[in-house]
């Protein structure tokens, strides 16, 4: 954790990213107080208004307030993304540690499972998983977590294998440190910085995937305000009402930018080598 504080002190990029994310999350949490209108209330007499004082970001094809929908969408999109990210991180970390530290047969088993799961391009796997479960926000979260854990598993496995060969770890093992204590005291401190950077990068990817699958119609169903689904609905009005497309797209971009900046800043400060985001 000391590394994170240092990163914020040293890197303007980390600070910008962190601030951006804090603002977006706060906006999502405070949506009921910030939003000028009910995000679900339709009013056909107010269709497709350009941005005005009453509708700061315009109104959509059903007369709903775009700003209110983007604000409430932050709850859906960001919190679902964070949930998927944490689920996948937890599962991937466990699998990676097992594949790196377990008994030989366990290591082989987990390595094979990881390789099989990694044989699918990530987005395709998320698409198929979410599609098989039927379109809903829950199945989208499960689908994305199910497609991302192997990526974390591979990372954690590689890092663990590297970490456990270090001499002081060997020394610890020789003197009888085993199990959770070995992981907590000897392995985790070594693999935490790259995992943190990767978590930030991967969450950026997850937000993109979440909105992308929402755009394809697999996520939250109408009328739930979700950024990807809002973009899908805006397709028909690109010329007549471009604000319908600009607002949710900018919201996704800013969230992803926040996590990418945070990752770059952390990487600089903690001197982590590059990690790919897919």
């Amino acid at each position: 954790m000391a590394g994170v504080t240092k990163a914020f002190r040293q890197s303007a990029m980390a600070r910008t990213g962190g601030l951006l994310l804090a603002l977006l999350l706060a906006a999502g949490l405070a949506a009921p107080w910030l939003a000028p209108h009910d995000p679900l209330r339709t009013d056909l007499s107010q269709r497709l208004h350009p941005p005005s004082l009453d509708f700061p970001l315009g109104s959509d094809q059903l007369g709903r307030c775009v700003l209110s929908r983007v604000l409430f969408g932050a709850r859906v999109s960001l919190f679902a993304s964070l949930a998927a990210s944490l689920l996948a991180l937890g599962a991937g970390l466990l699998a990676g540690l097992a594949a790196g530290l377990g008994r030989p047969w366990l290591q082989a088993l987990f390595k094979a499972a990881l390789d099989i799961a990694l044989a699918f391009p990530g987005f395709l796997l998320a698409l198929v998983l979410a599609g098989a479960l039927g379109p809903s926000l829950t199945s989208l979260v499960i689908g994305i977590a199910g497609a991302s854990w192997p990526w974390w598993g591979r990372l954690a496995r590689g890092l663990t294998l590297g970490a456990k060969e270090k001499e002081f770890v060997l020394g610890g093992r020789v003197s009888g440190v085993r199990g959770l204590r070995l992981i907590r005291r000897y392995i985790m401190p070594q693999i935490a910085p790259p995992i943190l950077v990767a978590a930030s990068l991967k969450t950026a990817w997850i937000i993109l995937a979440m909105a992308g699958l929402g755009y394809l119609g697999l996520g939250a169903q109408p009328p739930t305000p979700e950024w990807g689904a809002m973009l899908q609905e805006s397709r028909m009005y690109l010329v007549r009402a471009p604000w319908l497309m600009l607002a949710p797209g900018a919201a996704v971009t800013l969230s992803v930018l926040g996590f990418n900046l945070l990752a770059e800043g952390l990487r600089d400060a903690m001197q982590v080598k590059r990690a790919r985001s897919w």
Binding site: A119, F120, L124, L127, G131, L216, S234, G249, R274, A275
Partner: protein
């Protein structure tokens, strides 16, 4: 030595077989166990009201009442013979439907791949040569920005400006070179940015080596050193990345194909998933995973061939795929 090589190739093939078997298990399992009665879906696709008798008859016909392992064995046997079944929507063989879409995906993938290779090389070289100075910082800012742009939004923005407002480019579909510009940009921009960063890091690592300093010391010009000594040694990790991204691209760019109504495999897969056309989904998923696995393996082999140090040590450290 030669025997060792043959053994390692055999090992690799055996492992590949295990991975592909796992892939088949997932492709089958996902939809075999998914909610919804396939017989009902088929009947509805045929515009027939699913009565109890017709559902029962169709279930018998499709063998849906058998145990799952038996169904898997039957499906795997047919798949290995190249029979992927028939699409529930059209009744056409799945293999034929996939082949019909292959050309479009191939065209888009190769065009985007060319774009990625050129742009990432330019970004990476500029970043490494001007490390820390304005062009490098510009390249970094550009990379972070294009990595943060969702490609579906970028696609919509391009459509709005280039096709609808200014009428410069065709809106969607496949056709001449004009039709390729927007999909290639949408697809390639973020991949190029990411790989430009990888190339830059790899170049910087090589630039710090003694033999590079020696080459400078013996009076070679900057570009000569870069061309003769640096690029060659910095390429292996980037080649791996290029291979993997080619695998991604060949698997069909799901979102981009949907945005631009590009008649390729990605759009086919999405439409099939939304329509719950299970044989078509299974065929498309199997095909995409196969292409992806082969591309990854080839990239790995190319990496080893370019960097013989890797072939000797089996270690995980020091190669470009540590993540």
């Amino acid at each position: 030595m030669r025997l060792g090589g043959a053994v390692s190739i055999l090992k690799r093939l055996a492992y590949l077989a295990v991975v592909l078997w796992g892939v088949s298990l997932i492709a089958f399992g996902l939809f075999a166990l998914a909610p919804g009665d396939p017989a009902e879906i088929i009947l509805r696709d045929r515009q027939e009201a699913p009565s109890r008798e017709s559902v029962a008859e169709l279930r018998r016909e499709l063998g849906l009442d058998d145990a799952v392992p038996l169904r898997y064995a039957r499906w795997l046997g047919k798949t290995l013979k190249g029979d992927l079944g028939r699409s529930w929507q059209t009744g056409e063989p799945v293999a034929g439907e996939l082949l019909a879409r292959l050309g479009a995906t191939l065209e888009l993938a190769l065009a985007a791949f060319g774009f990625v290779v050129i742009c990432s090389t330019a970004l990476g070289v500029v970043g490494a040569v001007y490390q820390g100075r304005a062009p490098d910082r510009l390249a970094r800012a550009w990379s972070i920005l294009s990595l943060s742009l969702p490609n579906f939004w970028l696609g919509l923005l391009l459509i709005m400006l280039l096709a609808l407002h200014w009428g410069l480019l065709p809106l969607m579909g496949r056709g001449g070179l004009n039709h390729l510009i927007m999909p290639v940009l949408t697809l390639g921009l973020s991949i190029a940015a990411m790989q430009g960063r990888v190339l830059r890091a790899s170049l910087l690592e090589v630039l710090g080596q003694d033999y590079v300093r020696f080459a400078h010391a013996k009076g070679l010009s900057r570009w000569a050193v870069l061309k003769r000594h640096v690029l060659k040694n910095a390429l292996p990790p980037v080649v791996t990345m290029w291979g993997i991204s080619l695998g991604h691209l060949l698997g069909g760019a799901v979102i981009v194909e949907s945005i631009f109504s590009w008649p390729g495999l990605g759009k086919l897969a999405v439409d099939a998933i939304l329509a719950r056309d299970i044989p078509l989904v299974q065929g498309a998923v199997l095909f995409m995973a196969l292409v992806f696995v082969l591309a990854t393996q080839l990239a790995d082999l190319a990496h080893q061939w370019l960097d013989p140090r890797l072939a000797r040590g089996q270690g995980n450290q020091g190669n470009g795929r540590r993540d």
